[in-house]
Structure formats: C-alpha cells, structure tokens
Symmetry: C2
Subunit: 261 residues, 2 copies
C-alpha cells in the first residue's frame, strides 16, 4: 500500500509520500514514490505514485527517456500543466495495456498518480491521475489530493488546509497526516518524503527525506503526540464530572492566528 | 455507512455509535444503532451494529422476544459473555440465511456487531461479531474494537487508548474519533450515542445522545479544533524557518499526566 498527498496553496505546492512497497505481506520493500523533473527557470514537475510498482517505474522511465530522446510529446514540449497531465495519463494507460497483453495471470497493473508543477509564469496546477488515465484537479473548497491509503490522514487535512495556509504550516499538516497513517497502517512506512515548491520560483524547491530514526521525525512525532494529549485534556468535561477544566490564563500560550505558522 | 466503536478499560466499558443509515445515496435516514439490555444487579449487555438495517433490527427484536417468551438460549439464560456472543452470532446468521432464502435479487443481508457487557461478578467482556457469526475479543495491546467506517477515527485511538485510561477520558477520545469520522465522511452522522458502563455496577450506566446542535457537542467540536490547531503551532520548525517556536512557560498550562482526565 501507499499514502501520498499533495496540497495546492496560494503560495505554492506541497507533496508528501511514504516509501513502503509490498507485493504480498511477505514481500515488503522500500522505494521512493516521489519523482521531480526540474528545468530551473523554465518548468518544474513532481509526480507521486501509488499502485503497481513496475507500472510506476516504467512511467517515470518513459517520462525521462522521452525528453532524452526528443520524442514528442514530452515534459519539455508540453505547453500547459493540463497537457502534461494528459501525457502522463497516456503513458500510464499505454504501459498498463502493454503489461496486460503479456500477462498469463490476472495481475493488476493499475497505478494512480498525483502530478503537479508549474510551466513558466502560468499558474501552478496539480492533478490526480486515475488508473484509466483521466484526471481531476483540486478545488478551492478542497485544496488537496490524496492517493493510496487516504482515510487515516484525512481528518487533519479537512480541519486545517485552506488555500491561504503557509507552505510550512501545510507541510507540517502533511507530515501529521502521514504520521497518523504510518502509525495506524503497517503497509504505509518511512522514510517520508516531503517536497515544498514556492510558487513562481521555478526551482528545485525544498525536498526532505525523513527516516523514522531521524531526530526531526522523532521530535515531530513526540510533539504531536503531546499536543494531542493536551488537546484531549482541554476538552469539555461531562456534566457529572466534578473536576474542573483548568482555567486558561489570560493570553494563550500558543496564540493561534490563521497562518501564524 | 456506520461508525461504532467500543473500548474495554480496567474501570469499565465505553460504547459510541453514529445514527446515519443509508440504502443508496438518495435514501438517508436516522436510526439509533445502540441497544442496551439491562437487568440491574444481575447483568448488562450493549449491542452496537453496522450493516443491513433490517438484519440488525431483526436481531434486536429476536433478542428481546426470546427473553419475553422464555425461549432458551436467551440473554437471561446464558451463563457467560462468550455464550451470549455466540447466541447473538447464531441469531444473526440464522436471520441472514432466512432473508437470503426469500431473496430474488442478490441483496447483501450482512451485519456486524460489537457486543459487550457483564454477567454477575464475572469480568466484563466485549466482542466484535462478524457477519459469519464468529467473533473476536479485544486485547491488552489493542483494547478497542471498531465496526463500519473505521479508518478516519483510528489514529486518535491508537495514540491514546490504554487499559488504564479513565472512563471519561476514553469517552472523550471516542467522541473525538467519532467527530473526525463525521467530518470526513458524509455517510456517518449525528446524533452520536455514548454509553459508559462502570465495571461491577451492573446498572444502566450513563447513556448520552448528542445531536449535532447540542451545546455540549458544539463546544466539544470547537475545543478539539482549537486544541489541534494549537498542537500544530507547537510542532518543530523546519531548519530553514527563522521564526522560533514560542517558549513554553515554566509549568505547562495543561499539565499532562497519564490518566489525568
């Protein structure tokens, strides 16, 4: 299984992916599911993938090869993000059809993708590409996309993510969403990869790879756990409980203002 | 869809259920999914249900009727929780078989249950009863059970629920788990029902029905939202961020000690 998500903010794009793959419960491995294609000053693309690992690797290989060999369309020839997503969807379905035509069993070659980026000064965009090659974008009401094991990590996104959240705050929220999924489902696992792209930078952006034993990952996980426990302590008491909620001091310790972090 | 959960603590049992039913997206309704069977001083049972509504209603009806008519086995004749769970599983599969035998389509008559309680001074127990009528209990490592739409609300349970948590704290955690599910999945909806049973009380316990517009529900939801946002603000900054995490004062505002609430 897999969990990947991407968030489209006013200030740019955030992508996050896990790295666990499994072909049966006795065949578990680690592969990066995040692929960047960057021509600085010109165009930036990011692809995260879920599904058949051979399909996703073949798609990435074909995307690179088409550029190297000058086969059109390719990531350098496309003139819009929509055209680029259509190109990726076409590669994916072509490869699935090829693999299925050689298959003597009834294996599942399907793969899903989130594909995003920016071409020149056009708006950044992102799409979820279905195994069928068609795709949808996010929306103002729902500015994020998820693929794979999406449910464990959805509540925190629904509560926090809005277009005007800062890149770093959204990235922390993505890490929380991933952390909850990793804890609750053994088929999603570290290292966690994070990519933060600032709108109009047309640069390589910031990319982090966070293994489980990384000091930042550990501190992050511990702090979130502690924060949740404190949030639980702060909840209203039932009518029959004699204990009182501790009074809040004048001025909160962590004053929350939208986008403050 | 449905979401029900139950928690088995040293101090007793907590059950929580939503009330939304749907037979197709254009046939949405509200039914309680929580059923109590109480003989004060003698025995207490609770049943929460997911799946085919006709099956679950027929099961509850049969459980009541068997007692009224003195048909054995029934909830008063069984001598252990294990025997009681086996009785419920048998009723469920018998009724599914009956409905299937009358069916000219290929409808799904399956239902799942969480069934718990206490008989006399024996230990309280709880079981998840599969549509096949067999069942499992929880464990020290995993002291809760879920049926229905289980994933959205699982992370908070995994982080918080241990055997030695207080009944009220576990009940708050159950409400958070339910609240996250209701927000993220439209097929799970209020009113939320909560049942708190204190070990060895052999009484009716505390039962709450919380509609969406209930002041307690609203305050609960708002406080949890605020607590989560504060937890996000308290997370470690990325290395490139110049802002500092606000220093915590000496002594935390909501000091957390295990089981403090």
């Amino acid at each position: 299984m897999t969990y990947c998500l991407a968030i489209h903010l006013d200030k740019g794009l955030v992508f996050c992916s896990d790295s666990r793959t499994n072909a049966g419960v006795d065949n578990v491995s680690t592969y990066s599911k995040m692929h960047n294609f960057v021509w600085p000053g010109n165009r930036v693309f990011v692809l995260v993938s879920a599904g058949n690992l051979a399909t996703t690797q073949a798609v990435v290989n074909k995307m690179n090869r088409d550029v190297d060999q000058g086969l059109v369309p390719n990531l350098l020839s496309v003139t819009s993000m929509h055209e680029a997503a259509d190109y990726v969807g076409m590669i994916s379905t072509d490869l699935q059809r090829l693999h299925a035509s050689r298959d003597n069993t009834s294996a599942n070659f399907e793969a899903s993708f989130i594909f995003g980026g920016q071409i020149g000064q056009a708006h950044p965009e992102m799409f979820m590409i279905y195994p069928q090659g068609n795709f949808i974008h996010e929306s103002d009401e729902h500015p994020y996309l998820q693929i794979g094991e999406t449910k464990y990590g959805k509540p925190i996104l629904d509560r926090v993510i809005k277009r005007d959240v800062t890149l770093e705050r959204a990235a922390r929220c993505a890490l929380v969403s991933m952390n909850s999924t990793v804890r609750s489902n053994v088929t999603v696992g570290p290292p966690v990869e994070l990519f933060i792209y600032e709108r109009n930078s047309l640069s390589e952006g910031r990319r982090l790879c966070l293994p489980e034993d990384d000091p930042f990952s550990r501190e992050f996980s511990e702090q979130w756990n502690e924060g949740l426990l404190q949030a639980l302590v702060g909840l209203p008491r039932f009518s029959w409980e004699k204990e009182q909620v501790p009074n809040r001091p004048q001025g909160q310790v962590f004053p929350f203002t939208p986008n403050s972090s």
